[in-house]
Amino acid sequence: MTTAPSLAPATDTVLKADGVTMRFGGLTAVRGVDLTVGSGEIVGLIGPNGAGKTTFFNCLTGLYVPTEGTVSYRGTRLSRKPHLVTQAGVARTFQNIRLFANMTVLENVLVGRHTRTKEGLWSALLRGPGFKKAERTSEERAMELLEFTGLAHKRDHLARNLPYGEQRKLEIARALASEPGLLLLDEPTAGMNPYETRATQDLVLAIRAQGTAVLVIEHDMRFIFNLCDRVAVLVQGQKLVEGTAEVVQADDRVIAAYLGAPVDDNTTPDDAADPAPTAETPPTTDAPDPGGAPSADTAPDATPPADRPAQGPTGDTP
């Protein structure tokens, strides 16, 4: 245990999920998950595909109403209406980017300011000084955020025309516009190249430096372990482990969850007998999945555990 995680809960808790369970009919997608995020903390949430990470996110933000359990933000229980959750100070991004594609970059961020402005229809129709002032402040704040994320020069572009990496950034800027105390990022680096991933990493650190706690779902292990003070592992809807990067990386159960059970004696003869097919088949099945050469970061989660018994340990050692 390093100092960061032990310090963080002591200061004060931003988010506290208590026994969150989400059932869809007979399927339990999330089962009794407890999670806390302290202020100024970056917490990672990892787990194989279908582990219930995004469902858990949706429970936190009110898009789903959890079957059991409570979610509270800074000590008060969060509403079950998503727009009130955002108003309370929890903002999020989406796994598959959900920008307002036909609005400009600036307008997207201005929409994010919705909960922090009050001007209603009458104010818009009468255009009093209050309205103009509020619009100006909103725009200034939005421009600050665009500067912060490095999109200021694209303010008048339509969001749909931005390159992928910038769309991700814009989504973060839009979420930040609601002045959240906690930012939930759902796979912020999915589909990014290593250069963009590093830039996102810096961005998240800069967000934390501004005092916003971050909870991030990610499959890129290097990104998670570089960034997060604490990592929770979700497997089949349940929290398996929670701790620092070292603790999680060293945990056998995590490796098992991602890559299948440790290779036992019954598989070793096969490996010894014909190493050639196992060495050759994985790259061919693997090739369409990640962009280029299979890297250690992205490979483990991209393929189901059963497919690749041989490569598992080698992929994880660095």
Partner: protein
């Protein structure tokens, strides 16, 4: 074979006819000149043909269309020939607009001459002037057909149709070479709106039947010609720089329409167009901004009309009240607002299709309820199918709207008064639309339309905002309904149907919004004007009216899905054009950043 391939790759793209480029241009220009001059001669000897084309040296009726077309073609051709001082006419394409203008002139001229021959019985009815016009416009067209495409493709298009579309293809608008002073830009805007008023007034004043069809043919081809030339893009850019001036110019030119009319024959059409357009703009708040499909919108116009009819002193009104106009106006708007909230509150929790079905039902329920509140099948409130007739004319400060007046020394007919009143209502609705759209509320509406889940996640209370849009749209329709009741002087259930041959119905309203351009200010206004004018003028095709209308809609949606006056967003959505949305002045900026990223890489 080898010769052929090298031939196709090296020679510049040809026009549709094999003529040298310069010859083609000169032919076009000369033909256009002669076409224009030919309108100075008599085309027929008999004044039986509408418009009376029998005078020498005095173009009339459809000859004016040919004259304008000939001059337009001549100017465009001269600009393409490189005549100094005319370069501003073609900031985008040169040849495509010339060809379209020549085509428009040819179509209008030949249509006129053929209908003269058909209506009066034989070619014998054509005077030499008419024959000259026919030959000259044909030569113009042939010359224009030989012009090469504006943007030569990499490979010569193979098929005839491909070559045709290549010749008509649009080309990007060039950057402006010099800036005009502000007053000159304002003058240009004023001139453009004046020209628009002239064209519109000519259209509204033409006789039904052949002359209107000729006018329509010409406009359908000439407006794309101006568009291909890049003039419309230029004008749009100018109006964007001077929004206030452009709005003033638009309203001044719209308000001056009744002063050009001596009788009520066309001012009533004008007043009805404004009512229709105002309701369409109200619907645009609901459909265009908030993305709620409302198929029963005309019911809110009906609620406003009935509410106003009940309180405006009609002898048959069950209430027997006679409110002053402002109170009736507020009553109409408030009644619609109440109904909007009543219908919206339970249904706006639904998404998409369900809402459309509920609104469709509401529209019909309203109409049938009005039919049944007749004293036998229900309480006697609306007088059933008879409606509430004899709504007295408005009188504001002793100004009776039912009588002709002289305003500024110019006589204005009865419906001209209502037209002017309606201009004020339209201006109010335009103001509401503009201000609502460009605000926190408007952005939230667009966000809901774009992606409701993301909008909710951004803290937008989607139900409340949708209800707000619905109620605002309803109130605006109620406002227009009040004036509608006074203009038609009766409120009957049959005026407020889902679909029918007469414009104010839900289907036509929706069509006006979509045809004009969803989410824009001027789109629904233009769409509504066309949708009202064309059916009103094409009375003679009565039986086929809806069929033709349907075909026109299908064609428009096929070739211009974003509407006549597209929202910038929509235009980009339907035509993937890469980075064309980048505003002019920011182009070098992005180039610089591109360079930087390249340098970094």
């Amino acid at each position: 074979m080898i010769v052929m391939t090298t031939d196709t790759t090296t020679t510049p793209a040809r026009g549709l006819l094999p003529l040298p480029e310069r010859t083609a241009r000169l032919t076009t220009a000369a033909g256009a000149l002669v076409t224009a001059l030919s309108t100075g001669l008599a085309w027929t000897w008999s004044s039986d043909f509408p418009g009376d084309l029998t005078y020498n040296f005095s173009p009339a009726g459809l000859q004016l269309v040919t004259l304008v077309g000939g001059l337009l073609t001549l100017l465009l051709a001269a600009s393409a020939l490189g005549v100094r001082g005319l370069q501003w006419l073609t900031p985008a394409g040169r040849n495509a607009p010339t060809l379209l203008a020549a085509l428009a002139t040819f179509a209008a001229t030949w249509f006129t001459l053929i209908s003269i021959a058909v209506q009066l019985g034989g070619l014998i009815n054509l005077e030499p002037g008419g024959l000259l016009a026919a030959v000259a416009s044909l030569i113009t067209l042939l010359g224009a057909l030989a012009l090469p495409p504006d943007t030569p493709g990499d490979t010569a298009p193979a098929g005839g149709w491909q070559r045709f579309t290549a010749v008509l293809a649009a080309s990007p608008v060039r950057r402006r070479t010099r800036e005009l002073p502000s007053w000159a830009e304002i003058l240009i805007i004023a001139a453009a709106f004046a020209a628009g008023l002239l064209a519109f007034t000519y259209g509204i004043d033409t006789d039904d039947g052949a002359p209107f069809v000729g006018y329509l043919l010409f406009m359908v081809l000439a407006v794309p010609a101006l568009n291909r030339a890049g003039l419309i893009a230029r004008l749009t850019a100018l109006t964007r720089n001077h929004r206030g001036v452009a709005l003033c110019a638009a309203f001044l030119s719209a308000a001056s329409f009744p002063f050009t009319q001596d009788t009520d024959q066309y001012t009533i059409i004008g007043a009805n167009i404004l009512i229709f357009a105002t309701v369409a703009l109200g619907l645009n708040v609901v459909v265009g901004l908030a993305g709620l499909l409302d198929l029963g919108y005309v019911a809110f116009l009906g609620v406003g009309a009935y509410a106003a009819a009940l309180v405006s002193g009609s002898a048959e009104s069950a209430l027997g009240l006679h409110f002053p106009f402002w109170a009736a106006l507020l009553t109409g708007a408030a009644a619609s607002l109440v109904f909007g909230v009543l219908i919206g509150a339970p249904t706006l929790r639904l998404r998409g299709d369900y809402l459309a079905i509920v609104t469709l039902g509401f529209g019909e329920i309203f109409r049938i309820a009005m039919l049944n509140l007749n004293g036998t099948t229900g309480p006697d409130i609306t007088n059933g199918a008879m409606g509430i007739p004899n709504i007295p004319n408005l009188e504001i400060f002793g100004f009776n709207f039912g009588e002709p007046h002289e305003i500024l020394g110019i006589p204005v007919a009865t419906y001209g008064n209502y037209y002017l009143l309606m201009i004020l209502v339209t201006a109010f609705v335009v103001l509401v639309f503009r201000r609502a759209a460009a605000s926190r509320i408007g952005r939230a509406w667009i966000a809901i339309r774009e992606d409701e889940t993301a909008a909710i996640a951004m803290g937008i209370n989607s139900f409340r905002l949708r209800l707000l849009a619905f109620a605002l749209g309803a109130a605006l329709a109620g406002l227009a309904g009040t004036v509608h009741a006074h203009v038609v002087t009766t409120a009957t259930p049959e005026q407020f149907q889902f679909a029918g041959p007469q414009p104010p119905n839900s289907a036509f309203l929706l069509a006006a919004v979509i045809l004009g351009g969803m989410g824009t200010l001027s789109g629904p206004l233009v769409g509504a004007a066309l949708l009202f004018l064309i059916p009103a003028k094409l009375d003679f095709v009565q039986d086929y009216q809806l069929l033709l209308f349907g075909i026109a809609l299908v064609l428009l949606m096929r070739f211009r899905p974003e509407g006549l006056i597209p929202d910038r967003r929509k235009q980009l959505e339907f035509h993937e054009t890469g980075q064309l949305d980048v505003p002019d002045q920011r182009l070098p900026d992005t180039d610089a950043t591109l360079g930087v990223t390249k340098a970094k890489a």
